[in-house]
Symmetry: C2
Subunit: 139 residues, 2 copies
C-alpha cells in the first residue's frame, strides 16, 4: 500500500487553507483589480499610521524584509507612497502615503471589507466570528 492512511491530503490544514486563500484572492482581485491584497494591506496600514519606516511597516503587515521592499517599490513606482531616509537615524527609510495613495485607500477600503464579507459568505454570523477567532489562535 502506497497510501499510509494517517495522511490524506484533503484533510491537512495546509491544503485546506491554501484553497481558502486561493478563493479569497480571486474575490479580492475581482473587487479590487487595481492592486494586490498585499499591496493594499501595506497601503492601508501606512495610511492608518500616517507614517512608518519600511521595516516597521513590514512587521505590522507580516512581511519579511525582502517582501516588504518589493511591495514598497511597486507602491512607490505608482506614486502611492513616498520615501525618504530619516535624518535622526540614517538606517531607516521613512514612508508616507501620497495624496493619491490616501485617496485610493479611501476609495477601496469599503471594497476590501466587502472582500471579507464575500469570502465568508458561506458562513453565518456566528461561524464567521468563530472562524476568525480560531485562525487567530493559530498564530
Amino acid at each position: 500500500m502506497d497510501k499510509p492512511d494517517q495522511y490524506v491530503l484533503e484533510r491537512q490544514v495546509g491544503f485546506v487553507m491554501r484553497r481558502a486563500v486561493q478563493r479569497h484572492i480571486a474575490i479580492f482581485s475581482a473587487l479590487i483589480p487595481e492592486m494586490t491584497p498585499t499591496q493594499f494591506a501595506a497601503l492601508a496600514k501606512l495610511c492608518e499610521l500616517g507614517q512608518a519606516s519600511q521595516n516597521e511597516l513590514g512587521r505590522l503587515t507580516a512581511m519579511d524584509v525582502a517582501t516588504i521592499k518589493g511591495v514598497v517599490d511597486r507602491l512607490r513606482a505608482r506614486s502611492l507612497i513616498s520615501s525618504a531616509p530619516l535624518e535622526s537615524d540614517k538606517r531607516r527609510l521613512m514612508l508616507t502615503p501620497t495624496r493619491q495613495g490616501r485617496a485610493l485607500y479611501r476609495k477601496y477600503a469599503p471594497q476590501a471589507a466587502e472582500v471579507t464579507r464575500q469570502t465568508l459568505a458561506p458562513l453565518d454570523d456566528g461561524e464567521r466570528r468563530q472562524l476568525l477567532q480560531l485562525l487567530e489562535r493559530l498564530t
Copy 2:
C-alpha cells in the same frame, strides 16, 4: 480621518489566513526540510493515484497549469517522479512516482500528519474539527 473604521487590516480573513499559512509553512519546513508543502502535496497525491497526467495532478492538488509544471519539473529533477507522453493521447504527460519518490513519501507521510497536528496544537479536538470544516465550506 484616514481610517474608515469599517476596514481594520487585522480583522480581515485574508490577513488572518495569511499569517496562519505562514506559521504552517514554518512548521512544515522545520519537520520536512527536504521538500516544500507544495512538492509534498503533489508527490503524495501521485503516490495515492499511482499515476496521473500533469494536468490531472494539478487539478487534484489545486495548482494551475504553470504552477504544477514547475513543481513537476523540480520533482523530476530530483528523480522523485518520472514522466512520459501518453501513446493514446499525445497531449497528455503521464506521471509516475519513482521508487525513491514512493520511499520519500512513505518516510514523510507521518511527519506531514504531524505538521497538521502541530499547526492545530493551540486548539482542542472539537475546535480542530470545526476549523477544518469551516475552512472547507469557504471553498
